[in-house]
Amino acid sequence: MPQSMQPGDAKAAEIKAISIGKTFGAFHALKDLSLDIKRGEFLTLLGPSGSGKTTFLMILAGFLAPTSGKLVMDGKDITNIPAEDRSYGMVFQGYALFPHLTVEQNIAFPLKVRRQSAADIKRRVGEMVERVGLVGHEKKLPAKLSGGQQQRVALARALAFEPSVLLLDEPFSALDKNLREMMQEEAKRLHQETGTTFVFVTHDQSEALALSSRVAIFNHGELLQAGKPQEVYERPANRFVAEFLGEINLLPLDTVQLDGERAAGRFEDQTITVNKSSALAGRAALAAIRPEHMVISVEHRKDNCNAITCRVEGATYFGASTKYHLRTRTGTSLAVSMPTATTSPIEPNTNVWVSWPEHQGFLLPNGS
């Protein structure tokens, strides 16, 4: 194994984005966006295409200038510093390797720019080639490499000069599923080994949850929520975040009543109890529950659970889990995901109970 740097001995940077706005003509690509990027974290910018996440990354890189607001890195205003003087590592969508240079020469490029000695460059390139597992491919041109190998060259090149920040723009979107998962592990390992601040853009929610120490969710040029993967997945701030991070069941409740640690409202003829959200007290709201937190049973279970009657409409088999499609008495559709190994198949058109622990449900404002 190559000698590995300990987290902390790298010169990871922190960046504060303060009220960043960016307009292209009449189009507002980013609206008043503030976000603290912490030293050494793995932050993912997640959102659908056109949400502003890539625009924000390009502003961080210095390839785009914000229309308003400022960027502060380690206490220094860097808003007007051009990309070439920021010296961040960057991995582009499609890798952007130099097609006329070999693997070695690609990795050596940023080191030559920094006028390092030939001996230092040779040593460092060798180290990086080994670290990303490309020994034996040093003399090849990028066109001779597979997609995964090209991706490794791009990572090695971006990290060779020990940048204080590494920016990654949808780096794995072109790879097939298995290779993508391998490269995700690789990125995670490189993050731990180098201790550098990683800012990663993706539209793939499972990639975001799997990789990041923090996820920032974008939509229509706005930052909707930033938090640890568990926070944004289990306590999304609004319906968009809840739905973007994965499938979710939404049950419309009439007037929500606060009740100690919990809140409750009526859905069909049942009282549904969920986690408290004071802001929504006394209003109509949605009870939100992830499909994997629900259980289907033939008997009515009452152990601290919510339960509603449903009719099974069909099932989709995913291997490890099976997803059941159900409909409540008044026609609200539900999805319940159950581990295939521990449940016996349920036939369509069966009437069943769907139940879930009270603490797994939470409130979202009604409407979008």
Partner: protein, 275 residues
């Protein structure tokens, strides 16, 4: 071979027929003259490689063509750069500069340059009336005039392959270089320029081969004093009735170009793979 393939050959038919009748058959006649006039044998070919006059014309032709190729490539590179990467106004202007020469005949352009460059032409008149020079500069009726006129004619032909190579460069590759701290000039010399080598080689080939056969421009701007190969062939055939020598020079020129094309084809392939 499917019928669809043979139908496509049929579409090529008129062109092949025209090339055969207008070029190949007459050229075979020229080849015959070169071996038969005034008497059968290799005499004219021996003359081509030993006659000092023919030799000096060949050397001058090569020299002029190399200079013209270099000058055209440098100018065309700058124009192509503005055309591909400039602002919309700059692009329109570059396009205008590239296309307008195409609409003006080679003869008109040669006389235009004569009006600019000759002893009593615009440039010399201005410089003299401004008192900068007392005697007119020798700008036309010499190699300099020929080079200027030919370069002007050939620049647009060099622009297209270069611009096409520039267009195929992935913008992100240039961003990547910048992001790694590379200055604009370093990015140009180490990334942008190498990625256009394929286009440059293609452009050089087109310009050089085209220049080898130039006739009108050197005849007018050279004023009979810097004769190039094509003009020499013309003189041998129309002015001194020396058809055999003229024919032999033509055959050597055609063979030279064919060998050049074959060599450069082999050389250009790896360059294209990289570019």
């Amino acid at each position: 071979m499917g019928s669809a393939t043979s139908r496509k050959f049929l579409l090529l038919g008129p062109l092949l027929l025209f090339l055969g009748l207008a070029y190949v058959v007459p050229f075979l006649g020229v080849v015959r003259w070169s071996f038969t006039l005034p008497e059968t044998g290799f005499g004219q070919y021996i003359a081509v490689f030993t006659d000092p006059l023919v030799q000096s014309v060949f050397v001058r032709t090569l020299r002029i063509c190399l200079i013209v190729t270099a000058a055209s490539l440098i100018t065309a590179y700058a124009i192509a750069y503005v055309w591909v990467r400039g602002s919309s106004v700059q692009r329109a202007l570059a396009e205008f500069c590239i296309l307008v020469p195409f609409w003006i005949s080679v003869l008109t352009r040669a006389f235009g340059w004569l009006a600019m460059l000759s002893n009593r032409g615009l440039i010399n008149t201005w410089l003299q009336s401004a008192g900068i020079i007392s005697e007119p500069l020798a700008l036309a009726r010499n190699e300099f005039g020929v080079i200027v006129g030919m370069t002007h004619f050939l620049i647009p032909f060099a622009v297209f392959p270069i611009a096409s190579a520039m267009r195929s460069i992935d913008e992100r590759v240039l961003l990547a270089a910048r992001g790694m701290g590379s200055s604009r000039s370093r990015t140009f010399w180490t990334v942008f320029l190498p990625l256009t080598y394929g286009g440059l080689i293609g452009a050089a080939l087109i310009v050089f081969v085209f220049a080898l056969g130039f006739f009108v421009t050197p005849a007018i701007l050279g004023g009979g004093r810097s004769v190039m190969v094509a003009e020499l062939v013309y003189l041998r055939i129309f002015q001194s009735p020396d058809w055999g020598l003229g024919a032999a020079i033509s055959v050597v020129l055609v063979l030279f170009i064919a060998i050049l094309l074959a060599l450069l084809r082999r050389f250009i392939k790896p360059a294209h793979m990289v570019g």
